[in-house]
Symmetry: C2
């Protein structure tokens, strides 16, 4: 991509309203643009990052046996009434139709859709277990939405639902998902702490994945021994805000929840009478689990963790492109060497942005740092005199002049 032709450029005039670091940086760098509070457009660069995160999640869900499908956002009211959540969930958007007085729910979650769907296909023990997931936009009527893409009224989620013959199988898959989740967050450059959390009345088993950062809206306690717990349930368990672990020194942190896993037991299968016939011909209830990852929130969390005073520092796997090529000046040698470089990058399939805007070196370097691709490569008279191009690693700041062929080999 030529930077001069990009639809969205870096911006200096970002609204003061954007108080969160993720929204400030992502807006300035041209990744997202606020449409209204809690609702963002993902610009071409932002969509590339979102797709990279989706791909990491998709690979790990597929590896755990997940089958991807796509459920709608518009839900029948009667399914939400069946589970008691039509009146019971204050963040549920209710959409009236102008025809015939109908009302729909706008899905903040898909238990109410996936269970009736599973009912069409799950009849016998032979049809179990099943694991289905989707990556899709969710909606929540949030009273406040001031954390950029960390808490949206519309946001991208991966939600996986599992169906089991019994509790044991449900618990076994819960452990499979723990590993998958750990893989996802590690690949996204996040240290997400598996934290005990409230599972509601139905569940002794619920964990959140929490990323420690100052902008977090949750409070978690971690113990030296490895145990971590959300303050919400530490309160419930101990009667005050002191956590329960006695095995080591307790620390308190602000954190962002980037994922959660629940054993649903029969909470949603019972209202819809989702049952199967076992080996001896007897009807049995289906046990379920659900497992969420906030894809767009994860993008925001990565920015909260991976930035410095100059801009974003993307982990390699998530960056919109790997190399930011800056051409300084118009000298024949510079132009020729830049063309050689990008042809070689094309050939080996390394993605790049090519800054052809002919601005001052300072302005182009500032944009490269702000946007945060892992590698900056500057082609200039000086670099060519010194034997090649100047390669700077965004995360460490390490810089060296290197021959083009050698650089492409290293990338």
């Amino acid at each position: 991509m030529l930077m001069s032709q990009q639809f969205a450029s870096t911006r200096k005039d970002v609204s003061e309203e954007e108080v969160s670091v993720n929204a400030q940086l992502l807006t300035k760098a041209g990744y997202v643009e606020k449409v209204m509070a809690g609702v963002y457009a993902f610009l071409p660069l932002g969509l590339r990052v979102l797709r990279n995160i989706e791909e990491v999640v998709r690979e790990e869900m597929d590896a755990a046996g997940g089958q991807e499908l796509l459920m709608p956002a518009l839900h029948p009211k009667e399914y939400w009434e069946a589970t008691g959540r039509w009146g019971g969930l204050d963040v549920l958007f209710k959409v009236p139709s102008q025809h015939g007085g109908r009302e729909y729910a706008l899905g903040p979650s898909h238990e109410e859709i996936v269970v009736p769907l599973a009912q069409k296909f799950i009849h016998s023990y032979r049809d179990l277990p099943q694991y289905v997931y989707q990556i899709q936009s969710k909606f929540r009527d949030e009273p406040r939405a001031k954390s950029g893409i960390l808490r949206g009224r519309e946001f991208m989620m991966k939600d996986l639902y599992s169906f089991h013959v019994d509790e044991d199988d449900m618990h076994a898959y819960y452990d499979v998902m723990k590993i998958a989740y750990s893989n996802v967050f590690t690949r996204c450059g996040l240290n997400a702490i598996e934290t005990e959390a409230s599972g509601g009345t139905f569940s002794e088993f619920s964990h959140e994945y929490q990323v420690v950062t100052e902008s977090g809206e949750d409070i978690i306690f971690t113990c030296e021994c490895g145990y971590a717990v959300n303050r919400e349930i530490a309160k419930v368990q101990s009667g005050d805000e002191c956590p329960l672990c006695k095995k080591g020194v307790i620390n308190e942190h602000k954190a962002i929840e980037v994922g959660n896993i629940f054993s649903l037991h029969r909470k949603y299968s019972d209202p819809f009478k989702l049952r199967y016939t076992d080996e001896s011909g007897v009807q049995q209830p289906v046990y379920m689990g659900c497992y969420g990852i906030g894809i767009s929130r994860l993008m925001g969390a990565v920015v909260e963790v991976h930035h410095d005073d100059k801009g974003i520092v993307w982990p390699e796997g998530l960056a919109p492109y790997q190399v930011h090529v800056v051409q300084l000046g118009d000298d024949e040698d510079v132009v020729k060497s830049t063309q050689t470089l990008i042809k070689k990058l094309d050939k080996v399939g390394v993605s790049y942005m090519y800054d052809d805007r002919k601005l001052s070196a300072g302005a182009m370097f500032a944009d490269a740092d702000l946007i945060g691709a892992p590698h900056r490569v500057v082609v200039s008279d000086r670099s060519l005199k010194n034997g090649g191009v100047e390669h700077t690693v965004r995360s460490s700041g390490d810089s060296k002049v290197i021959d083009i062929a050698q650089l492409v080999k290293e990338l």
Copy 2:
């Protein structure tokens, strides 16, 4: 994928309500499942087809200079008021918030979002032209929705918006899009007729892409000379329902609109005052075009056109997988040859479904025909005795016994 482990199977008990051929076949074959009228879930097979169509569209839009982004479904009311469409569009879903009396629109189209967005980035003639598109769910409060995935209350769309310095540039890009659209539909196995259509008051230039089929809701007239026109405007132009072309024999057809292209002129840029500074420093209005393809509707149209009495007959590029492998019986040779076949398919990267369900040959063949992959390959005692596996082409019915290595080479 092992067919025995699929979440969704073929179904015989499809509701009589599903009157359309596309919904009947796609539901029976396990591609989609109706959640309510006009709202469908895309099952794993269906999502694969949807993704294949998306990829064709994405490639052609990228080739025409399009930059992909992702806008939200939830829109601020004030933008729709600015264009006069808040009160003027009867299919607009209006979503009340439970907090603070706010109301949102649920996007049936994105002019109201893309123009304020473009305003952040388009300032000078140097910033033009721009072409941005998205592939995203749209919502329409349809009074009736009885055509399966041809007319949905929630549906997948590609919408591209172009921004130009003047009318000439707008018209020139209109012709670029005509070629891109022709490529898309040809690659999807559709003969889509470029049909003159109503562009509303603002536009002499509007075309629909119409696929002739009995289930179409539109009526078009085509002339031998190549001219085609929607009945709606033939009426307006001629005062009755006779079309205007005098160059040849006129035919009347039912047809499905799978895409449309509009010259928007200043219809949406004016209300938002989207302007740019020209070379001489003067403020000028931006001209726009918009170009839609109904991704999920296109999938339905392909089924309406490409099926026979046994099921769907997918064009190669859209099929959820290329080969449907049927293993007949459990003899050691059959098992071994099937394993050899699927390993070879894996190696060359040809996608396949493996029917390992051990049902009767008739039941498995019926499902293969219903699902409609381009190639069926049967491994049986008999085929092995005859020198290989039995390869049947779904579209022609041509069948032959062929050596496995040779078959894989041909695929």
